[in-house]
Symmetry: C2
Subunit: 147 residues, 2 copies
DNA sequence: TATACAAGTTGAAGTAACTTGAGGTTCAAG
DNA sequence: CTTGAACCTCAAGTTACTTCAACTTGTATA
């Protein structure tokens, strides 16, 4: 019988087999044909669909958003502008996240730096870092900028 | 009776009251004194502790990592170098995440751009974007770089 | 003082997006 | 024919909370 087994599909799309079954369970992937022994068999269209899903997920779209996107793929009479708008909204969120993460990286890098500079001596009650984190005094200057 | 009620602590630390109870439940915050009517009362040390926790969480440390960090705060005889190393490891993870997110931003921005350029006409079966996402052909050139 | 309503209490269940585990069947190779 | 990998289903576990229901307590006002 033709078609990929679930393991092959998993490998080809970089998806865990359990995840594939999970997607089937929540209706994100259609129920595939079964071989005599009840094992799932997938075709090339399934490869495409799953690739699409994984790519969207990698892009940070939620399952529900992927569902929407998927239906756009199915129903081409609707505008791909809907997809554009979804992506656009997503882009805004990503840029916000990016800003946050950059600030975070800076803060933690400073944390490590200060630690290296001031706590090199090893164990002891003198660590300024942990005090900073508990916020007894303003943090920004000596150690970590508040998020 | 002195001390903050849970709502006040929540407001001061920017934490949901339910989350405070949750932290208490998992042993991240100590059980506070109770007022006559069984309501929790918190002191300044609790403000510090919770601020510490929230800040670590904002920094992306997991609850378990915060637990470790917390114990370092309690027990100053141990080295703050442990905290440094935890932070260092975390920094590496953050930088990886940052790289991913940057690539993602670029991809999605391109997605939107191409959409604007090629799909302006509105609805129709000609949308190249959705085809790209399902990976029938390599994506990088016309639309989105693979993650 | 009565009343209303905001804020507190508990325990349980819900959330996202899977992952892991138990216990059993089927396939493919030697 | 046997062995072991890959498959099957269903249930429960994961993270870090949030939400809900049903109830009690605290506080401000008429």
């Amino acid at each position: 019988m033709a078609g990929h087994k679930i393991g092959a599909l998993a490998k080809r799309t970089g998806t865990n087999a359990a995840t594939i079954r999970y997607y089937e369970g929540i209706g994100l992937l259609p129920r595939p044909d079964r071989q005599d022994g009840n094992q799932r068999r997938y075709g090339e269209d399934d490869v495409g669909r799953l690739t699409f899903i994984r790519r969207c997920r990698d892009f940070g779209f939620s399952i529900e958003q992927v569902r929407t996107l998927s239906s756009l793929v199915q129903d081409r009479s609707r505008s791909c502008l809907e997809a554009r708008d979804l992506a656009q909204g997503h882009l805004v969120a990503i840029r916000a996240k990016l800003r946050e993460l950059k600030a975070l990286e800076k803060s933690i890098a400073q944390f490590v730096e200060v630690c290296d500079a001031e706590c090199v001596g090893g164990p002891g009650p003198d660590c300024v870092i942990l005090d900073d984190l508990s916020g007894a005094r303003p943090i920004a200057t000596s150690c970590c900028a508040a998020a």
